[in-house]
């Protein structure tokens, strides 16, 4: 998300549902990062972050320091998974850009957490552009350093079929999927991060899930061409 870009309305209606999600995750056995785990499911803390970012925009710099302490672990994870060699530099850059842009945060448009990941997304996109010496292209930035991510999956001894299925996903779908799986963002937050409407993000995520189910669940007869299901269930 560009820091000043509006997010979808309704982002503020998460209420106590995070707690339920956490229970779901526990049951599914998903390993959460300590930093995420400690942070996740704590509505008060998310509300605190929104308030702290707002306060920092009005001159309370101490509030911004609290944000740095609260969210650095999660933001560092975002970079460490995608660009480990420069993850600390990118994290520092993210906070400097977030500080510079803090007055553009509007809690009515989305959470501080989603906003900060949006800044991180932009920082990663800038880095990738510099590394590739390419000019910005119209439309949303795609920050999917697949080679690095694929090496991570390889190192984690991920099943080859799953790796292949992820590799064959459209870049935008894969990026959204990783944002909700690894960064534990909500679909709306993930949408805000990449700068697309929440409905579009949900549609792509459902489609990605459909593709993965098709690839990984159904036997694939030789010569069969897989088609996207567009599963919107």
């Amino acid at each position: 998300m560009k820091p000043d870009e509006p997010a979808e309305p309704g982002d503020r209606r998460r209420g106590g549902l995070r707690r339920r999600h956490r229970r779901d995750n526990d049951q599914r056995g998903i390993t959460a990062e300590r930093g995420h785990d400690a942070e996740y499911g704590q509505d008060a803390q998310h509300g605190d972050s929104d308030a702290q970012l707002t306060r920092s925009a009005h001159g309370d710099s101490a509030a911004f320091t609290h944000l740095v302490k609260t969210h650095s672990s999660a933001l560092h994870g975002y970079f460490a998974r995608r660009m480990p060699a420069v993850s600390e530099d990118l994290l520092a850059e993210t906070w400097l850009q977030a500080f510079a842009a803090r007055r553009t945060f509007d809690p009515a448009r989305g959470s501080a957490r989603g906003w900060l990941f949006g800044v991180a997304h932009n920082v990663l996109a800038q880095h990738l552009r510099r590394a590739g010496r390419t000019e910005p292209v119209p439309g949303p930035d795609v920050t999917d350093p697949w080679q690095v991510v694929d090496q991570r999956l390889d190192a984690a001894a991920m099943a080859p079929a799953l790796r292949r299925a992820l590799a064959e996903l459209p870049v935008e779908e894969r990026e959204l999927l990783l944002l909700i799986s690894w960064e534990q963002l909500t679909p709306s937050e993930a949408a805000a991060v990449v700068g697309i409407p929440a409905g579009t993000a949900r549609s792509r995520l459902h489609r990605a899930r459909g593709r993965l189910r098709d690839r990984l669940t159904l036997p694939r007869p030789a010569g069969r061409n897989l088609t996207a299901t567009g599963d919107l269930a």
């Binding site: 998460r14 339920r20 998903i30 990062e33 650095s72 600390e88 991920m158 299925a165 909700i180 919107l232």
Partner: protein, 309 residues
């Protein structure tokens, strides 16, 4: 609005549903990374605090908090407020709300302490402590005027134009009542409170300021990472040390500056928040016959080596 807006009310249940495919757990596990180190967090905090201070300086000077992000290549820090800050720093009369003396070694941040030099220096202390320990026969400094070597017996050599020349004995480093050679540094306490007490002892004739004593040790001595960490914390406890913010040194490298004003002069060090290295020490006469005279000591790199040249 889309047909999916209604599902937002389901919050994270929806997320769980979207991750309901074979291998989702495996994917989540593959995303595990090592937690952020304390050193890395300290570095980030130091940079943010410098940015906050920079804005404070510019805001104080112009009465408006105008912030513009400037994107640069990594390895060089960026100034959040370009020309305004440069102008403010160049005047040498920047004032910044500093709480003054603070207790060294607490390592905790309260809201009242944020923005102060002591918070920044505490964080830099953590960065310094995390640097790797090394050793060698000589301490080498590459400066803008040539290469300088200090042997363990305090002999000083200068290499200029490819030729090495012995310059004599390097003066001992002063720390309050102590004159320290290489061995003396190795035996010196690293406790911040004790170092601060040494710095704050009554000055001897011709003593340099406590800030300059600490700066000199941090800039041009083979002090260990632990000693440097202690010195940064001790410096944090000196009354009158001010955080200037993000600046550039005379070679264009970005860093964070702290300064200390005396009756007729100002000493300033520019610290690299990434490594805790001192990039440049600047001494400026602010009064007297030499008023306006500025001296830079710029260190391009420093470290141990076993041979000269």
């Amino acid at each position: 609005m889309t047909t999916y807006d209604d599902t937002e009310a389901n919050g994270m249940n929806e997320r769980g549903a979207l991750l309901d495919f074979p291998g989702a757990d495996e994917l989540a596990t593959a995303g595990h990374v090592e937690p952020l180190s304390e050193r890395a967090l300290a570095r980030v905090l130091a940079e943010v605090e410098a940015a906050v201070a920079t804005e404070g300086v510019a805001g104080a000077k112009v009465g408006v908090a105008t912030v513009t992000p400037i994107r640069r290549q990594f390895g060089r820090r960026r100034a959040l407020i370009g020309l305004l800050t440069t102008a403010a720093v160049a005047t040498g009369v920047v004032t910044y709300a500093n709480s003054g003396a603070t207790s060294a070694g607490t390592g905790t941040h309260s809201e009242a302490r944020v923005n102060t030099a002591s918070v920044f220096l505490d964080d830099i202390s953590t960065v310094a402590a995390s640097q790797s320990v090394s050793s060698g026969k000589y301490w080498k400094m590459r400066t803008t005027v040539g290469d300088e070597y200090i042997s363990q017996s305090m002999d000083e050599y200068v290499v200029s134009g490819g030729k090495a020349a012995k310059k004599g004995r390097h003066p001992d480093w002063q720390l309050g009542p102590k004159d320290l050679d290489w061995n003396g540094l190795n035996q010196l306490t690293t406790d911040p409170a004790k170092l601060l007490a040494l710095l704050q002892t009554p000055p001897r004739p011709k003593s340099i300021s406590p800030f300059d004593q600490a700066s000199s040790l941090l800039t041009e001595s083979p002090a260990s990472p632990k000693l440097r960490a202690g010195l940064f914390k001790a410096m944090a406890g000196l009354k009158g040390v001010k955080l200037v913010g993000q600046v550039k040194d005379s070679t264009g490298r970005g860093g964070t500056a702290v300064e200390f004003a005396e009756a007729k002069s100002v000493g300033q060090v520019i610290v690299d928040p990434k490594t805790s290295a001192i990039l440049e020490y600047t001494f400026t006469w602010t009064a007297g016959p030499s008023k306006g005279k500025v001296t830079h000591h710029t260190v391009l790199s420093a470290g141990f080596t076993d041979k000269i040249g």
